[in-house]
């Protein structure tokens, strides 16, 4: 099959998945109490006639199937509805667009950390299997997956920010610094684009703790994956062939083994990216990072179903596409892969 066909096929296969996602989010969010409540405050909740007005105004009286139909129609126009009163009822898309760059920034920096740390650690661990380096890396990776990240966030904040003052307390930039001109909405990258090095470093300093906490689990997973696929690769016949050619161990590992071991790691990295986005729910709450994670927690607290739905939709779609891209990337890494 040609790559183009494969991509088309995968995209077509996405349609039922996306419909499924919308279905799940829609019906779940309609189980969340009374959707009208998203527009109510403690003070107005006691007035049922107001609730009725709100219901009428938002088509909440229609049967669920009809509402779902409206939802799908809106969705096809990229309209995810409106936020609840917690976000002033503005369009969900607009709110997501406001908050998403901050999350994406964390996730990207987190991903960079993951790969920069995870891959070399995995390789080292595999090369020095059963040596102390390996034990340390393995234990580290196990601690990483066993770590309650929200707790780690508190602890690193307590020690590194409060006690030692090495890192800023919260936020993306100090208020005294004007954010760089908006291109991507991600301060670090915008600062780079604008060539504002000071701002860049300050922004990175702000992002480093949250993105580290965010990335920890994925880093551990990537390390383990890299280790095991490296070990797997090192037992392959072609590695023996490479050695029999007289190549040095360094080239055998970095050229022959690494290329092959990276392939399964790529898949994991794709999934890890989704993990990073959802991990934002915790991390952003702890580090006061104004991204979609915190937005979603707020929305859940306010039972703002359109926002919850929009958030889950966005993450799921990014997740699905990240995996698609990874699968396509696979083809470049491994010529054997037949799409299927």
């Amino acid at each position: 099959m040609k790559l183009r066909d494969y991509v088309i096929r995968r995209l077509l296969l996405l349609i039922p998945v996306l419909i499924g996602i919308s279905f799940i989010t829609f019906f779940l969010s309609h189980m969340i109490g009374d959707p009208a409540a998203a527009w109510l405050s403690e003070k107005t909740a006691g007035q049922p006639e107001l609730v009725e007005k709100i219901r009428a105004a938002h088509h909440l009286d229609d049967p669920l199937v009809i509402q779902y139909y409206y939802y799908l129609v809106d969705l096809s126009k990229l309209d995810l509805g409106r936020t609840g009163r917690n976000e002033g009822g503005r369009p969900v898309v607009q709110a997501l667009m406001d908050y998403f760059p901050a999350t994406l920034e964390l996730a990207i920096i987190g991903m960079i950390l993951c790969l920069l740390i995870g891959i070399p650690a995995g390789i080292l661990s595999a090369i020095y299997k059963d040596k102390w380096v390996d034990h340390i890396v393995r234990l580290g990776a196990l601690v990483g997956v066993s770590m309650p990240v929200f707790w780690l966030g508190l602890i690193v904040k307590y020690w590194l920010s409060y006690k030692f003052g090495w890192f800023p307390l919260d936020g993306r930039l100090p208020y005294s610094i004007t954010p760089p001109p908006d291109v991507t909405g991600m301060y670090t990258f915008d600062a780079l684009i604008a060539g504002q090095w000071d701002t860049f470093f300050i922004a990175v300093r702000h992002a480093i703790l949250p993105s580290f906490c965010l990335a920890l689990i994925s880093m551990a997973i990537i390390t383990r994956m890299m280790r095991s696929s490296m070990l797997e690769t090192m037992t392959q016949d072609y590695i023996r062939t490479a050695r029999a050619k007289g190549l040095s161990e360094r080239i055998v590992i970095l050229k022959h083994a690494l290329r092959n071991a990276l392939t399964p790691t790529t898949t994991v990295a794709g999934i890890a990216f989704g993990g990073l986005l959802s991990g934002a729910v915790m991390t952003e709450t702890i580090f006061s990072w104004p991204g979609i994670g915190r937005f979603s927690v707020k929305a859940i607290g306010a039972t703002d179903f359109a926002s919850i739905m929009g958030f889950a939709m966005l993450i799921a779609i990014i997740y699905v596409f990240a995996n698609l891209i990874v699968d396509i990337l696979y083809v470049y890494l491994d010529p054997r892969v037949k799409y299927g």
Binding site: K129, D130, Q236, D237, Y238, R240, T241, A242, R243, A244, K245, G246, L247, S248, H256, R259, N260, L333, D334, P335, R336
Partner: protein, 328 residues
């Protein structure tokens, strides 16, 4: 007597596994002469591959380790060479081809790149020259459309083609010894015939010695000048081909030869069998490792390891039947 190219003395290789120490090679002695094809034959797990890998020092630690012995090549003991020196020999003076051509090429590089790599490494050529030479080598093994093959990835070629490419790669630096570890086992009979024919032809052209490992006595008969028969980490008998087949001396060798149905004779008679199974090398039998399956076993066989006895004409046997005083 012809010149000795490489001389293996008392080679012992062990694997330190979780289950215990696998005593894979139990003191191998083997001389390979210049220009000959020497065969190593034996059943699964008897240590053929380990012998080959030990010679070019590709036993991986952990779990494997060459614990004893010398391998003399060009006046030097390969086992004492530093790794960097050894690397200059591998792929250059001694090269190797493996059983599974499919798995022996790196799936993510083209065939041409992989052949060129070894040329660049040992002959200090540029990538372009090396690639050109790689195509020359492919032509040498009479692969159709060598240019196209050079640009292909391994999975795009059939097993037979890959094994030819493998041979091209092994011969790229005109080695003095080519170790072929079951080069045709994974191939179909008709393809096997092609490859064997090719190897015969190349051998006369290149003049390299070949260490041919197989479990197929037919291939031995067809290809080799001399044969070593291995059993459970030992070479139990070593002689030239016709001697082995006409006059097998070790009980194992004769059992092996008689266990194969013959194409020529009619099927009337029953096959001879060697009772029992190949032993576990973690706890190999004491004394002669073959004694539990041997119809001619004596008390002595259970306790002592037999030495090597020369029956004349380079016919070596490791069996007490031929020890001094036992000789019939």
């Amino acid at each position: 007597m012809p010149d000795v190219l490489i001389s293996v003395k008392n080679l012992k290789t062990n694997f330190y596994t979780y289950a215990g120490v696998v005593k894979a090679l139990d003191g191998i002695n083997l001389d390979i002469y210049k220009g000959e094809t020497i065969g190593l034959v034996g059943e699964t797990g008897c240590g053929k591959s380990v012998t080959a890998l030990s010679i070019i020092r590709l036993i991986q630690w952990p779990p494997g380790k060459i614990d004893e012995g010398t391998i003399t090549f060009e006046g030097r003991d390969l086992l004492k060479l530093p790794e960097s020196e050894m690397r200059k020999i591998r792929g250059n003076k001694i090269s190797m081809i493996f059983q599974e051509p499919m798995n022996s090429f790196n799936p993510v590089f083209t065939i041409g790149d992989q052949i060129a790599e070894v040329i660049m490494l040992h002959q200090k050529k540029t990538k372009k020259e090396a690639l050109a030479q790689a195509i020359e080598m492919l032509k040498f093994t009479s692969i159709p459309a060598p240019e196209r093959v050079a640009k292909s990835y391994p999975h795009e070629l059939s097993g037979g083609m890959l094994q030819r490419a493998m041979i091209s790669m092994a011969l790229a630096c005109q080695p003095e010894l080519l170790i072929a570890d079951e080069p045709t086992t994974a191939l179909d009979v008709t393809i096997e015939a092609q490859i064997l024919e090719l190897m015969k032809g190349l051998k006369t052209k290149m003049g390299a010695s070949i260490l041919l490992i197989t479990h197929d006595l037919g291939i031995i008969a067809e290809m080799c000048d001399r044969v070593g028969v291995m059993y459970a980490g030992n070479i139990v008998e070593l002689a030239d081909v016709s001697t082995i087949f006409k006059n097998p001396s070790h009980p194992y060798t004769s059992g092996l030869i008689c266990a194969i149905p013959s194409l020529a004779t009619k099927q009337a008679c029953r096959l001879d069998t060697i009772p029992g199974n190949v032993p576990n090398l973690i706890r190999p039998p004491e004394g002669c490792r073959f004694h539990p399956r041997c119809s001619k076993a004596m008390d002595r066989c259970k306790k002592e390891k037999p030495g090597v006895y020369d029956l004349g004409n380079g016919h070596l046997v490791s069996c007490f039947l031929y020890a001094e005083g036992q000789k019939q």
